[in-house]
């Protein structure tokens, strides 16, 4: 615990800001039912009510409390993005490291599959898959996870390649270690830093991607609250000088910025560059 505090205090202000924001989002999503004044899908009043004491941020197109939906939206959107990023990472970094460690035809096959997947624009690919299989949650998760895993694969393979040619990996091979051990003990610890940094960035992209899909009606389905579809549903309000539909968009933007601040700091730390002051 003390250690964490120490690292926190040594971070630059931008990273501190980022970490505070992320922590804030995390608390909101975890404790959503306790924080939100109303339920996620409760119809409470007329549509498009203005900000008032009863509805702090007004109501949406169906008369649901905007603030409560923002809070639940955090939980749904962030939870989903986190799940997808985690799956993409496990899949991408594992295959990437295997490709780098084994080389030869394994590497060729994996890399070409990834090339094919990457050659299709991701939004088109997602629209295609989701319109064929429907928009059920497992399909949504699998589609975005596979698309993102290709990017993670490329990074993991490239960084693992650099490590795989080191003498200490050769030492392990000469000792007779199995591939699994070489990947887990020799390669993985040396590529964790760039992978972690990538995790932060990937998370942002996944997040934006889900929001984009939701905005197009293919993401998280109603009545579940999520920030992308909230922007779409209430977009007409902007014409009436009401900024309420921009709030979910702002929430997305703030998290993205916060995440990038933290990632920048982590990249800087792992690069070993000295601050010259």
């Amino acid at each position: 615990m003390l250690n964490i505090l120490k690292i926190f205090s040594s971070a630059p202000w931008s990273a501190k800001f980022g970490m505070v924001v992320i922590l804030f989002y995390a608390v909101i999503s975890i404790f959503a039912p306790f924080i939100a004044p109303y339920g996620e899908t409760e119809l409470l009043g007329r549509a498009y009510e203005v900000w008032s004491d009863k509805f702090l941020l007004g109501t949406d197109n169906l008369g649901r409390d905007m603030l409560s939906r923002l809070i639940y939206g955090a939980r749904n959107t962030i939870g989903l993005a986190l799940t997808i990023t985690l799956i993409a990472f496990v899949l991408g970094s594992l295959t990437g490291m295997i490709a780098a460690a084994l080389g030869g035809w394994v590497d060729q096959v994996l890399s070409r599959i990834v090339d094919v997947l990457m050659s299709i624009p991701s939004l088109i690919f997602a629209l295609l898959i989701l319109s064929i299989f429907g928009t059920a949650m497992p399909y949504l998760i699998a589609t975005i996870a596979i698309l993102d895993a290709t990017r993670v694969f490329r990074l993991a393979r490239a960084t693992a390649m650099n490590v795989a040619v080191m003498d200490y990996v050769e030492v392990a091979r000469l000792r007779g270690e199995k591939q699994g051990w070489v990947i887990r003990k020799e390669i993985l610890p040396n590529i964790t830093a760039p992978l972690l940094a990538e995790f932060g960035l990937r998370f942002c992209f996944v997040f934006l991607f889900i929001s984009a899909l939701s905005f197009l009606g293919l993401g998280i389905q109603p009545p579940t609250a999520d920030w992308g579809s909230m922007v779409r549903d209430n977009a007409t309000l902007i014409a009436f000088d009401d900024i309420t539909p921009l709030l979910p968009a702002g929430a997305i933007a703030l998290l993205t910025v916060a995440m990038n601040f933290v990632v920048d700091w982590m990249l800087h730390k792992s690069s070993g560059l000295k601050d010259v002051g």
Partner: protein, 604 residues
């Protein structure tokens, strides 16, 4: 007293060119800013060469760069004056200093391969400085480049500049960098270990170039190195440094003949050859034998051709040769990383499977390897405990307390204390890292250890300590070493048997004394005569030998026909040597070399 042949008669040793007073430099570490150069003074007259000597961490390079008014990122000059020809560089504005660098002061780095941009042609890079500084037009600069290449005897001087950096040999590249430093006709050149990464024969080639440029053109130089014998060939003055402090400064002759400080004596001593005497072994047993190995990479040529070597238990067999001779390929074949195209490897009486994947755990355990660069041979994320502990649990199944006890025992064996057990490689010095690598090899309880250039990346004093440790361990544990090296001094101090490899073939093989005293094969002679000796004037002497005239500044070429050494050989018989395989000559039992000439003819 030796005659100082370095002094050029027409050299005007008059006005002071560079004066550094009370130079203090700090470097940023985890503990904050720490002083790495603690008040050093130096003066350099026009046309004079100053050698900076010391181990790594002595502050040599930092001082060298400071002479140009420059401090690397993470370093800062905190005090002192650097006066170059009347200009105070420490306080001079950056653009003022930039005007001097490249025109009046230039810098030659250790690794030419890393210093040249691989995306531009060599002559373009030569012209960059003079054109940028507005000294010459591009055309004039290129003309000057070609003229310099010609005067330095580079092959095909008119066209070599049109090549890319990967298309010329390491020695040539280094010489071209020296030429580049001369592009604007500077008054001072800073050489930062320009020959450290090179073979002995290539080293001579580069030293010759440096000497021609610096001495004959009356340029002042600061020459940074950890090798006293090398700098003794060039420098007028030597400055011995340690931990950023001045230890001793004097004329080269004085330092070599009558060093005043203990540390200087240590440096001299570490560079002096200590011959190992081979003890008799009562009933010799062949531990490893390599029969008729031919090997190569992919679809490429045979890097090793019909190589046969046998290694007796408890002995050290050294494999020597220049880069490109196939030494490291041999190590890869023995360890199973590169299955040979033909031939057998026998360990005791069993034939080892060619490929690593087919060898059993017991077979792998018996052969361990130590690498040239301890930095990349240790996983930066593993603590010493894990590095040494893994072979213990992997091969011997040790766990818990037992394993811990053994790790500590091994640490003691490599002369490191128990407190090193939880350190990361970053927290170890170069020598300590290499010791940990040795301990890792020992942990497997091997019979054979393949040592691939294990001391070439280390400072002289540290290297000597590592060699001593290896000898001690051999004595205690009856270990057998296959010792790969290009450094004949090292080989002389550790080997019992010597195998001289050239272009993938065994040129000469036998006991150390038989091979070296006297050397028969012309290649062995060339290698021996190329090892710098700790006396002034050695370079000139060597360059006049027949071996050097024929063999220096030539590349190793692999051929299937004739003797690969023919075109570098002063004894070559035209037509015959380049077409016919040389027969084996056996001057004594157990000693043979491949040459058309008989031992009697070669000794004449």
């Amino acid at each position: 007293m030796l005659v100082d042949t370095n002094k050029n008669s027409n050299k005007e040793v008059s006005s002071t060119l560079l004066e550094v007073k009370g130079l203090r430099i700090e470097g940023l570490s985890e503990k904050g800013w720490q002083e790495i150069v603690c008040g050093v003074d130096l003066t350099l007259k026009r046309g004079e060469i100053l050698g900076l000597i010391g181990e790594s961490g002595a502050g040599k390079s930092t001082i060298g760069l400071a002479a140009m008014g420059y401090a690397r990122d993470g370093c800062r000059i905190t005090a002192g004056e650097i006066i170059f020809d009347g200009i105070e560089l420490h306080s001079a504005p950056e653009n003022e200093k930039r005007k001097l660098r490249g025109t009046r002061i230039s810098y030659v780095a250790q690794s030419a391969a890393a210093a040249f941009n691989p995306a531009h042609r060599l002559l373009e890079q030569f012209a960059e400085g003079p054109v940028d500084h507005g000294v010459m037009s591009r055309k004039e600069a290129k003309e000057k480049g070609r003229a310099l290449y010609r005067s330095l005897d580079l092959p095909d001087p008119d066209n070599i500049g049109e090549r890319w950096s990967h298309q010329v040999s390491g020695g040539q590249l280094q010489r071209m960098m020296v030429a580049m430093a001369m592009s604007c006709g500077p008054d001072l050149i800073v050489f930062d270990e320009p020959t450290t990464a090179l073979d002995v024969t290539t080293q001579i080639e580069v030293l010759k170039t440096i000497k021609e440029i610096v001495v004959d053109r009356n340029v002042a130089a600061i020459y940074i190195t950890h090798d006293l014998a090398v700098v003794a060939q060039l420098a007028d003055q030597l400055m011995v440094l340690r931990y950023g402090n001045l230890v001793e400064v004097n004329s080269t002759g004085q330092i070599l003949e009558a060093p005043k400080q203990e540390y200087t004596r240590d440096l001299l001593d570490a560079r002096t050859r200590h011959e190992k005497t081979t003890a008799q072994i009562s009933n010799p047993e062949i531990l490893l034998s390599i029969d008729n190995i031919t090997a190569g990479y992919g679809k490429g040529p045979d890097i090793l051709q019909e190589v046969s070597i046998s290694v007796e238990r408890g002995r050290t067999v050294a494999v020597v040769g220049e880069s490109g001779s196939g030494k490291s390929t041999l190590a890869r074949v023995i360890t199973g990383l590169l299955p040979p195209r033909s031939g057998d490897i026998r360990f005791q009486t069993d034939i080892l499977p060619a490929a690593l994947a087919q060898r059993t755990k017991q077979q792998l355990q018996k052969t361990q390897m130590i690498y040239q660069l301890p930095d990349v041979a240790l996983n930066p994320r593993q603590r010493v405990r894990d590095v040494i502990g893994r072979p213990l649990s992997f091969y011997l199944g040790l766990r818990g307390k037992e394993k811990e006890r053994r790790i500590i025992e091994l640490l003691e064996q490599i002369e490191l204390s128990e407190k090193y057990i939880d350190r990361l490689p970053d927290e170890l010095s170069g020598g300590e890292k290499q010791r940990v690598c040795i301990a890792r090899a020992l942990a497997a309880e091997p019979e054979l250890i393949v040592c691939d250039e294990v001391t070439s990346a280390l400072d002289t004093i540290v290297a000597k300590a590592i060699l001593d440790l290896l000898q001690k361990l051999q004595h205690e544990l009856q270990l057998t070493y296959l010792f790969i090296s290009h450094d004949l001094d090292t080989v002389a101090s550790i080997a019992d048997q010597v195998v001289v490899l050239y272009a993938g073939r065994v040129a000469e093989q036998g006991s150390k004394s038989a091979v070296f005293q006297p050397p028969f094969h012309p290649y062995t002679r060339l290698l021996l005569s190329s090892v710098p000796e700790m006396k002034q004037g050695w370079l000139e002497q060597t360059l006049t030998t027949r071996e050097a005239k024929a063999g220096i500044a030539r590349e190793v070429k692999i051929t299937k026909r004739g003797c690969p050494f023919a075109e570098r050989c002063p004894e070559a018989i035209s037509e015959i040597c380049s077409n016919e395989r040389p027969p084996l000559q056996t001057p004594a039992s157990g000693h043979f070399f491949a040459c058309q000439h008989t031992p009697e003819i070669l000794l004449k």
